[in-house]
Amino acid sequence: MPSDRTQRAPIGLKIAAAAGLLFLHLPILIIFVYAFTTEEKSYVWPPPGFTTQWFAVTWNRPDVWEALTLSVQVAAISTVIALILGTLCAAAISGTSFFGRETISLLVILPIALPGIITGIALRSAFSLAEIPFSFWTIVLGHATFCVVVVYNNAVARFRRTSGSMIEASMDLGADAFQTFRHVILPNIGTALVAGGMLAFALSFDEVIVTTFTAGQQQTLPIWMLEELVRPRQRPVTNVVAMVVVIVTFLPILAAYYLTRDGDQIAGSGK
């Protein structure tokens, strides 16, 4: 809604917008304060004192490291699968117009449009029907399914910008399908794929609802956090982990934003 006249926002609107943004950010900042508290038995505010000792304690906790390692592995493999499936889908959808393209888009979006619990329980009951035991791969299966959509969304927007005539121009100039892919398509969709991959990683790294249904005994970092939320045992360690998770998820989001901000659609607007 750009206006030619330079107008000032009414003061009421300014206050309401600022209050809304504060509402979004203050709780996250509070996490940062709690990570340094000396109190270990309760959530008392204000913190009676500040210390950095919990970072060392957390660093030496093998269960945290195990959960973190599992989460990173799951997110990495899910991201690779999502990148392949999402890119294929986006390429097929944008390259041609065929009767089923609406259905395909719906199919890709469905795992994230339906509440996570439905995806979770559906996968779980399918695993039990097919007598597949829970494992690392059942977690990956679930994560990759809902990560496809973020890669797809990013790639489809960029494919649309890579006009069909550019591909034709490449072939016209003597490049075959592989050369065209390497020299024209890949450089043009590359940053969108990196952005999509980062968002997929962030999405998988943070996922808990589907994971509770597909994980069995293994603990990803969010599952570890969930345990702590339901039955708090080491509050200071949880505080530190929470803060680290916030920082770790901010990085790929910021990177994805800077990679795609010049484009027609900025990554992440469709989580």
């Binding site: 006009s163 490449s170 016209d172 075959d176």
Partner: protein, 332 residues
């Protein structure tokens, strides 16, 4: 001599739409050939058939005598200047121009020398380091031209290349394209919907309508002796004379055409001729265009602005020399 491009009964159907319908066409080596027609007439599809982006539903396409059906675009020694230029945004101008040589495996030094040469040819020397986004529309067009020419194609295809340029630039580019074609001797095939552009630039023109070629000929032929009503209507400002009119005033029951400058307007008292009433006058400079209602037809005549002009509402008679009436091929 083998034609540069030869179509034999070529059709391209999209479902029930006959984009190109049984077209026969020979383009002579070294000529500047224009495909002229309204949008949807099949001219662009014909160009894409030559480039290899489309495959014919039926018929035979030869390029310099070699079968081109089933040959992918990247194996045709034919290059295209696209309507939207289709420059690669991630490459600079030099790399855009050298793209064709790069995928053919030509070494870096030779590539850059050829790119410089091609850029000089299109009057953009020293622009190699820029990105396409930093160029004006006219400059992009020149880069697209250089990118195609650097491959030394046997046939150069141009898809409405001047459509996006403003009038002055367009006129300048028309001249440059024409002289470039003479200089290089490459066969140019040029698609346009602008009849002025086609007539002024081409050695020969094919007029398309509804997926078929209505007429092929030199600009003079197309202009003076349109084969069908469509051509007369689309290409020129000729008066189209229906068979009844022709029978009464020209002695044969056929469709005919008559150029406006060949109609003379006389006072009603002057005697024999076609009775008409003046509807409007348009001053065109040296001449004045007179719109006339005669026998239920709207006719146009161009008369010398210096002479005596009728006024709207005047009843007049029209005369013309029967030799100036062109009889069209179209059945009555």
């Amino acid at each position: 001599m083998t034609p540069a491009v030869s179509f034999t009964k070529v059709s391209r159907h999209f479902g029930s739409v006959r984009a190109v319908d049984a077209v026969d066409l020979d383009i002579v080596e070294g000529e500047f050939f224009a495909m002229l027609g309204p949008s949807g007439s099949g001219k662009t599809t014909c160009l894409r058939l030559i480039a290899g982006f489309e495959q014919p539903t039926s018929g035979r396409i030869e390029i310099f005598g070699e079968n081109a059906v089933g040959v992918p675009p990247y194996r045709r020694n034919v290059n295209t200047v696209f309507q939207d230029y289709a420059l690669f945004p991630h490459l600079n101008v030099a790399d855009n121009v050298a793209y064709g040589l790069m995928v053919k495996g030509v070494g870096r030094e030779e590539r850059s020398r050829a790119a410089d040469e091609a850029l000089a040819l299109v009057k953009l020397p020293g622009y190699g380091a820029r990105k396409p986004g930093q160029l004006s529309g006219g400059q992009r067009q020149r880069v697209a031209l250089a990118r195609a020419l650097v491959n030394k194609p046997r046939v150069l295809l141009l898809d409405e290349p001047l459509g996006a340029l403003d009038l002055k630039l367009r006129e300048q580019m028309q001249e440059e394209l024409k002289s470039l074609q003479k200089q290089l001797g490459i066969t140019f095939v040029f698609v346009t919907h602008d009849q002025g552009e086609a007539l002024s630039m081409a050695d020969r023109v094919a007029v398309f309508n509804d997926g078929r070629i209505m007429q092929i000929g030199s600009p003079q032929e197309i202009y003076r002796r349109p084969a069908t009503r469509f051509v007369a209507d689309f290409v020129g400002s000729s008066n189209i004379l229906p068979p009844d009119f022709m029978q009464r005033y020209a002695g044969q029951r056929r469709w005919g055409s008559l150029r406006p400058e060949h109609i003379r307007i006389l006072a009603q008292t002057a005697g024999d001729g076609v009775p008409a009433r003046v509807a409007a006058l348009n001053y065109l400079g040296a001449g004045t265009r007179v719109s006339l209602d005669a026998e239920g037809l709207r006719l146009h005549a161009v008369v010398d602005s210096g002479g005596a002009l009728p006024s709207p509402g005047d009843d007049v008679v029209l005369t013309f020399n029967r030799d100036h009436v062109h009889v069209m091929d179209e059945p009555a």
